[in-house]
């Protein structure tokens, strides 16, 4: 059975994202972790494009991979954590952690295997809701209230950053 280009892309991105995610977890060096995480974000953006969600793909790259991860990198550099000096947790704890994470996945997968939606093919053409025009339209009409409300969130984050960041007065 020949795979279409899209399918090949899907499997490539999937394996890339999973591999990168694993590398995030298992890299000794925090900087490597950050870089691998950026890799994950890029592959996920690829998935978005496959899913015809171009706006989110771009935002993901700009905001996440660009801004946020840079911030992370910045902090790590600032703290001079660019070494592999992190002590690992005890073996038992790591084993328990891996086991529980793994069984979490297994259970979810097992539960969702017989899902009704499996027949749906995902790559057919659609009306292009993921395009910026459509999303912008909805965001500033129907979703204007949550949008405005999230400004409160940013305000508080800003205040918080100021409070936490500035030197103690006394």
């Amino acid at each position: 059975m020949a795979m279409s280009m899209v399918e090949i892309l899907f499997w490539f991105l999937t394996s890339l994202s999973i591999f990168s995610a694993l590398m995030v977890v298992f890299s000794k060096n925090p900087v490597h972790s950050v870089l691998w995480l950026i890799m994950v974000f890029f592959s996920i953006s690829g998935h978005y494009i496959l899913l015809n969600a171009q706006f989110l793909a771009i935002v993901n790259m700009i905001v996440y991979a660009g801004a946020i991860m840079v911030l992370f990198l910045f902090v790590i550099m600032l703290m001079n954590l660019n070494t592999e000096n992190e002590q690992s947790k005890s073996k038992w704890l790591q084993l328990a952690a891996a086991l529980s994470g793994g069984s979490m996945m297994l259970i979810l997968v097992a539960a969702l295997k017989g899902n009704v939606a499996k027949a749906t093919a995902m790559f057919t053409q659609d009306s292009g809701i993921g395009l910026i025009k459509n999303l912008g339209n909805v965001l500033f009409t129907d979703y204007v209230v949550p949008f405005e409300i999230s400004s409160v969130l940013f305000l508080s984050a800003m205040v918080g950053a100021v409070i936490l960041g500035k030197k103690e007065a006394a």
């Binding site: 995610a21 891996a98 529980s100 899902n115 939606a117 965001l139 950053a161």
Partner: protein, 111 residues
């Protein structure tokens, strides 16, 4: 691609995130793993958005179904950005005091 593939993918990413949170001791890495989990969610939401959209699209070509999930993802990103600001501020503050971001040193408060 069936929706299940996306579900499994994001579940896998999510679980890897959890494993990361559980196994690492560096607060920043843990935070990154949490971001990984959020991205798994984002991916899943977009996939679901597409799925619901296609279901509706079969009967109505002008349907807007699915928009809300993509906007939700947008809001998640927004919130994540704010969270990162605060989170990193806290981590930096912590680092200033104890010169470490190892969570195993967070043990003054117990019992």
């Amino acid at each position: 691609m069936p929706i299940n593939y996306y579900i499994f993918l994001s579940v896998a990413l999510f679980s890897i995130g959890i494993i990361g949170v559980l196994t690492r001791r560096n607060a920043i890495i843990i935070f990154m793993c949490i971001e990984l989990m959020l991205n798994a969610v984002n991916l899943l939401l977009v996939a679901f958005s597409k799925m619901h959209h296609l279901k509706a699209f079969a009967t109505d070509v002008a349907t807007k179904v699915g928009t809300e999930a993509q906007l939700f993802v947008f809001f998640i990103m927004v919130v994540a950005a704010a969270e990162v600001t605060v989170g990193l501020a806290i981590i930096v503050m912590m680092y200033r005091n104890i010169h470490s971001v190892d969570i195993n040193f967070l043990n003054r408060l117990k019992h």
